[in-house]
């Protein structure tokens, strides 16, 4: 009996692993198909613009408001510690570096996965469930070129813009707390920031991170939607998986990218 139970557990574990690898391969294949059929999404650029509106412009509110609060909290928390070492002017550096290097790209990607990624998965999953994708194929319209690719490029375009806006608004929030509220000198706040934030090493690397996160988040959302079982339950599970997988992928990729960027 025990042996029987053990074999069943082992086979379940193996099936799970094989399933994961299969999904990774299928995701990679979808990524490749999206890349080669993305010519369509640039020729008919309106399709992509429409998706940029839905994933980017409509995400602005949540991104900007959370950026503002993140910046304010960073300034408050940072001040508590920096004050002990008598260097409260360095608060500008702390806020700017934390936002530009890490929090800007990462928090934006997490919010993006929750706000836009789920919408993409649900939309494509439902398109598949109602056989709209099959109908397109019947009409010799490639659903990958017509549906997947514009959403992919929209996500890749929107993410760096959102992350840059996040950093900027976060720094503004930090400024509002540090200078008028706490009373740090405004000149020292900006000059220390300018002296220690490097255009190439910090700002461009942060933007590069957000591009990578944009590819990862959008591709995961698209794949989960495209791969969802065409039922109500299947779509709901796919939506959940999008958030979980995207968040883990963003945090894991962040570590890898950071270790590469700091090593140089």
């Amino acid at each position: 009996m025990v042996v029987h139970k053990l074999t069943r557990m082992l086979s379940k574990l193996g099936a799970g692993c094989i399933n994961k690898v299969w999904r990774l391969g299928a995701g990679g294949r979808l990524f490749w198909l999206t890349l080669i059929s993305s010519g369509e999404s640039f020729r008919r650029f309106r399709l992509t613009i429409r998706e940029v509106y839905f994933t980017g412009v409509l995400s602005l509110i949540i991104i900007l408001v959370s950026a503002f609060f993140v910046g304010m909290v960073l300034a408050l928390q940072g001040y508590q510690t920096l004050q002990k070492y008598g260097s409260s002017e360095a608060i500008g550096v702390l806020v700017a570096l934390a936002l530009v290097r890490e929090l800007g790209p990462v928090v934006t990607a997490l919010l993006f996965a929750g706000r836009a990624g789920t919408a993409i998965t649900a939309e494509i999953g439902l398109m598949k469930a109602t056989e709209q994708l099959s109908a397109m194929e019947m009409m010799a319209v490639s659903p990958i070129a017509r549906v997947i690719a514009p959403r992919f490029w929209a996500g890749v375009i929107a993410m760096p813009i959102l992350a840059t806006l996040f950093s900027m608004v976060g720094i503004l929030g930090g400024y509002l707390v540090a200078v008028p509220l706490i009373g740090v000198d405004a000149g020292a706040f900006w000059s220390q920031m300018q002296a220690n934030v490097d255009w190439q090493y910090d700002i461009l690397n942060g933007a590069l991170k957000s591009v990578v996160f944009g590819v990862a988040c959008t591709m995961i959302a698209l794949f989960e939607g495209y791969d969802a079982p065409p039922t109500a339950e299947g779509v709901s599970r796919a939506t959940t998986r999008t958030v979980v997988t995207s968040s883990l992928a963003v945090l894991g990729l962040d570590f890898i990218l950071t270790s590469f960027m700091l090593a140089v």
Binding site: R46, I49, R50, V52, Y53, G56, V57, L60, Y85, S87, A96, V100, I157, A158, P160, I161, L162, T164, L165, S167, M168, I171, W190, M193, Q194, A195, V197, D198, W199, D202, I203, A207
Partner: protein
């Protein structure tokens, strides 16, 4: 009609993104401040560079005149070879003195240049011969302790013996045997 408003919003969105990137670069980053376009390279050998890092500022009279380009270890002389990018607008005499200073008590380290009196000036690829190493806190503390120890070698012992003597004298003088009588 629907589409044109969407186009407008997306246009605004992308413009905002570029504005934010520009804002970050200008206001937050050092794109404007460290815009040293043309530089010449000089090297300086130090026995100890402390915590000096590449891209640290090179200052003269407190003004940033360049940046540290690279730091390598010379296995023949066992010294650190620091190469400095200095703005071509500033010329320094050949006998310029290079120090490694620390900004504040715990701040970052930078290279300070003190101009000498030579009439020929440093050119690209030249070497600064007069250097002073970074101050290592442990060395400073041990020097301080050593000097304190030598300084207080005899004086305090004298005074302590003197004070104990005077204390015993006082005890002897005091009418102890009369207490309680």
């Amino acid at each position: 009609m629907e589409r044109t408003t969407i186009d407008l919003w997306v246009g605004i969105f992308v413009a905002l993104g570029f504005a934010a990137l520009l804002g970050l670069a200008m206001k937050v980053g050092n794109l404007t401040t460290s815009n040293i376009s043309q530089t010449y390279l000089v090297t300086a050998n130090f026995e100890n560079i402390g915590g000096l890092k590449p891209r640290a500022p090179v200052k003269s009279a407190g003004v940033v005149v360049g940046r540290v380009n690279d730091i390598v270890f010379d296995p023949k002389t066992y010294e650190a070879v620091v190469s400095l990018n200095i703005d071509t607008r500033y010329n320094f005499p050949k006998d310029t003195f290079a120090n490694i200073y620390t900004a504040g008590l715990l701040g970052e380290q930078y290279v300070g240049l003190e101009a000498g009196g030579d009439e020929t000036s440093l050119k690209d690829g030249d070497k600064i011969t007069q250097t002073q190493d970074a101050v290592v806190l442990e060395k400073l503390i041990s020097q301080f302790l050593y000097s304190k120890a030598t300084e207080s070698d005899d004086k305090p012992t004298k005074s302590t013996t003197a004070s104990t003597e005077s204390a015993t004298d006082a005890l002897d003088a005091s009418p102890l045997d009369k207490i309680g009588k």
